[in-house]
Symmetry: D2
Subunit: 360 residues, 4 copies
Amino acid sequence: MHKIPVGVLGASGYAGRELAALVARHPRLALRFAAAHGQAGERARLGGQDVTFCTADDAPLGETALVFTALPHGASAAWVERARAAGAKVVDLANDLRPGGAANSLLPSGKHATRELATAGNGAGEWGMPMSHGSAIPHSPTPFPAVPYGLTELTRAQVAGADVVANPGCYPTSILLGLLPLLEAGLVAPGATVNVSAASGVTGAGFTPKPELMFGEVTENFRAYGVGNGHKHLDEMRAVVADFGADADLLFTPHLLPIARGILATITVPLARPLAEPLSLWRDRFAGEPFVEIADAPPALRDVAHRNVARIHVTVAKHTRTPTLIILSAIDNLLKGAAGQALQNANLMLGLDEAAGLPL
Amino acid sequence: MHKIPVGVLGASGYAGRELAALVARHPRLALRFAAAHGQAGERARLGGQDVTFCTADDAPLGETALVFTALPHGASAAWVERARAAGAKVVDLANDLRPGGAANSLLPSGKHATRELATAGNGAGEWGMPMSHGSAIPHSPTPFPAVPYGLTELTRAQVAGADVVANPGCYPTSILLGLLPLLEAGLVAPGATVNVSAASGVTGAGFTPKPELMFGEVTENFRAYGVGNGHKHLDEMRAVVADFGADADLLFTPHLLPIARGILATITVPLARPLAEPLSLWRDRFAGEPFVEIADAPPALRDVAHRNVARIHVTVAKHTRTPTLIILSAIDNLLKGAAGQALQNANLMLGLDEAAGLPL
Amino acid sequence: MHKIPVGVLGASGYAGRELAALVARHPRLALRFAAAHGQAGERARLGGQDVTFCTADDAPLGETALVFTALPHGASAAWVERARAAGAKVVDLANDLRPGGAANSLLPSGKHATRELATAGNGAGEWGMPMSHGSAIPHSPTPFPAVPYGLTELTRAQVAGADVVANPGCYPTSILLGLLPLLEAGLVAPGATVNVSAASGVTGAGFTPKPELMFGEVTENFRAYGVGNGHKHLDEMRAVVADFGADADLLFTPHLLPIARGILATITVPLARPLAEPLSLWRDRFAGEPFVEIADAPPALRDVAHRNVARIHVTVAKHTRTPTLIILSAIDNLLKGAAGQALQNANLMLGLDEAAGLPL
Amino acid sequence: MHKIPVGVLGASGYAGRELAALVARHPRLALRFAAAHGQAGERARLGGQDVTFCTADDAPLGETALVFTALPHGASAAWVERARAAGAKVVDLANDLRPGGAANSLLPSGKHATRELATAGNGAGEWGMPMSHGSAIPHSPTPFPAVPYGLTELTRAQVAGADVVANPGCYPTSILLGLLPLLEAGLVAPGATVNVSAASGVTGAGFTPKPELMFGEVTENFRAYGVGNGHKHLDEMRAVVADFGADADLLFTPHLLPIARGILATITVPLARPLAEPLSLWRDRFAGEPFVEIADAPPALRDVAHRNVARIHVTVAKHTRTPTLIILSAIDNLLKGAAGQALQNANLMLGLDEAAGLPL
């Protein structure tokens, strides 16, 4: 069977390597190129294949059906344009084109899931996990007027018909999938604060060496970062929450775990009205979804490591006068939180089985 | 200088070993015995001394000035009585005598910090960190009518004059010290939910081998436990919060970290009124306290490992309509969360320098 | 395509779970049963399938083409007999039937690779990694007179035609594959000591909870065990080495690593004569072998994790008067060191592609 | 009691920070300065004191009685001279002045322990643990003609009378202390190869960020480095071994452990004649030594963490025709392997109790 050629820009970072490996093992895709700025000419073993990195400038964009851009935030938008100009579809893993920019809603109608105006150049930070306090970033208009947000379980139809998709951030993926049934049912208490304490493994902070990411500093350690509700992923999450018309504040505190991969979000939500059997709401919403598991017990990061799934558990909090849910949502930040979801979207965009090549 | 003889019951568990090591290095205390049920006759090197464990029954309680009971919850109260009958003062590290039992307040007057009625036999669970969902436990009256709660920075005077002290739990120590300035100033918003997401190293779960505590299961993993707001430490915390007259719910979700020691509590508190410079409130309250550090930046568990301190940072949350604080409180669960605070209390009870023998 | 039914006895241990997961994902095999003594009735998610454990007594041995016995050493031989009596082929992962028993050589002719006399009941120790000092164990005759040793790259032909195969131990797999080219070429210096310092992750010690395997004891730790050249795997290795006629002593010191999976063997071998380009000897011997990688640089355990390969590097030692090689051999102890090699053998025994269902 | 002022050059690296902390807690020493090239002006909490780093050029060398130089190899010798010129004694933690340079023996007489000619500028590598393959480095004469080697238990008298001491490397400390009784008794088999497989935590590789030292690369990993018997520490060890007249080759393979601190050396030594009770030889040699523990069982790195000791165990290997010992020697690489031993030496040079301020 003929394989469809795809390429990866930014293939030496953690997400890029994961993508290249997924593509190398994919039954219907072939890895046409793996571009990596600093490692051009070097060889790596990815997904059972020997891969030689090229520079982005040498990447044969036009010989691929689809390009994944796993570049630093801000550097991505220009390459999305170049790949489009060369005729390739694009899944962009940076936050350049995600919701939370200039537009107030995701769609003029307020109907979620496709962005009218995306933004470019919004941040030079690390992929997914800034080590310093985040802050609001001004956005400017974008040449991609209607880029769907690739939270696949929310926007499957838009993704399937799109030429460019903005792949969600790792934290937003875990948190928004956990909140989705409540948002869709309008069950978040008006005026409430949705409290999210989340923890991520170090691969979320990228592959650039920094003192605070060295083994000797991370082992036997744990700390919060981005403290004060200023993490850059908040804009992305707020935009989606607002698009559902939910009148709630998000309070998000991320933490750095001494593990390589995985995100666990612990979300507490005051409810508009009590829910006796909350799990059924999640089971109904995600029935038939191959990449969302509703679990009877709290998920552990080990349950989702090396798998393209979100694993979600929901419990009613005892001893609170406001009816409150505790939602636990676990993902592998490099798979469902980045490369896996990107491939899920790419499969749809290329007309393939959505689950092809994705580890369960 | 003559050294004061003290003993440790339960000296082979994580907290007990830490206590025996602290005593062995102490300038004014001598370790008269170290009792350990299953290891009687075995030798260990603790605090630079060779220690041979005896059985609790063989422990010469009457030849000590003070006994630390680091026994399983429920097993402790009877030994507290025996040690008292033998003439020794007692610091009890179990939760048997802590607040949260039958009495509605800590003092009839509502004045905090000394318990009128404590409880016995309230639970056979693990020390500090039950692996299963907690639940309310019925309490019965106790033979210790006025046992001070040994959160030293709150109850120093009562501790100094006491014969028996109930040493706080590890989670309550980190959380209550973080909340103390707000509670004392009456700044928690009435009717609010104080949200606590906390994470602990595995020594909090005790030294008894269980499948879920094996290295192969904990490494590269992270998970919540006691989910649903039912952790046994909640009664203890609620009793203290209520004693201050705060009209707030606690919502507490603990997590298990792949590290040996340390607790980080991430606490969000809706305020009765905005605080422009919150750190000054904490700095004022803990001025001169040797074992509480108010930090300019979020604390890391590494900052407090092997030290008898709580390290606290406070930030105002951006982007919330209710004024909200984020309090981060880090301790070493075996020191300030257990053995260190127990020794701090013992020093006071024996008329010694409160800081003697405590690592800073 | 019809799938061939196979079963796993001992499916709740680390090797057994890995096997069940490999079978569940296998393109040509179906998991007919997964038996686990203590967990009968419990459900687990293995290889993307929900699996319910049965007892070994309830296992429908006769409805399978092949049974994997991943039982404790000593407990295995009896089940091998029962599975054979029921008509199933067997791959035995215990050391009950491996070389090193009563017979002095693997074959009367001295031709390696098929055992004349195997042994039963030789040890109740842990799978693969005893925590206490090993010792010589008396062997008795066996009902399996000619069980091939399943070091696949050495004994492929015998395995393909066998009804029962003794799967090698994890340490022997890494060490013997590393030594194989030297043994076959007769290049080990006569009378020399082959020095092996090896280190294994904790899954090699099995899933039974023990204090020394708890996270709090293993993290930030490292130690040798089985010190004194008495590890139980030595008999197995010595038997193979002797079968090649090599006149050398083995000196083997294993260590416990604070990681979940992986074995690295660091082997130094005095040579009968100098080798200028040693790597070519390994490249030639393993040319075309899909599961042996000869590397230009020292292998890291990360290179082989979750893959069914041995990765080997060889260097000439500088500054020694005796020509000496340093061989580094890395495997995933649960895959090439246990379940993966077992499946490699099973594929051959069932006439399937040797590589089917094995992660590269 | 008046405290003696000392300074630390290179105080922001792992060894330098450890030294500054030891000095800060020392009963008889005061930290006069802590110089750190890149962090000048920054503050750190070290040993319970707030320390502000200065530049080396601003360091008041002349106001100290002794300076510790914890600088990169090659950069150290010049600062040793400057500190000496300013009147301070010096303990140098680099390998610039250690044995193994131009001189063939440590003393003209062949009597060990004081170097006639030391070398300068021999290597720009990392402290203690080069990540790349080592190689022979040409040495040039030195301005420090007779710098004692500070392996305290071997050279106590020379150290006590010295103005400059070359503090041993971390690997040489663990290995040479383990071998010392055999070397002094002339028990190493003539012509034999002493085989050393050692493993170190990451702090041995220094604090400079490198991709291969990031948490995401080290966790769940293990690998050899400096493979081929070319590690830079070999010259240092060979010089000491040769000084004892031992006619043996050293074969040394270091490995990188996923832990922060600790070195375990596993040493196998062919003996000139059998030793029935080897431990007694070590017990006799180190009787009364406060910082060497002879253990009945194999030492674990946890036994020595945060302690200034070498913990040594010795066993006779079974099943080898040459009588062979297995020596296991464990240290904390930052204490007995660097800062602790440096302080031990400084205490002697300043006429203080050798054990002052050193954690046991």
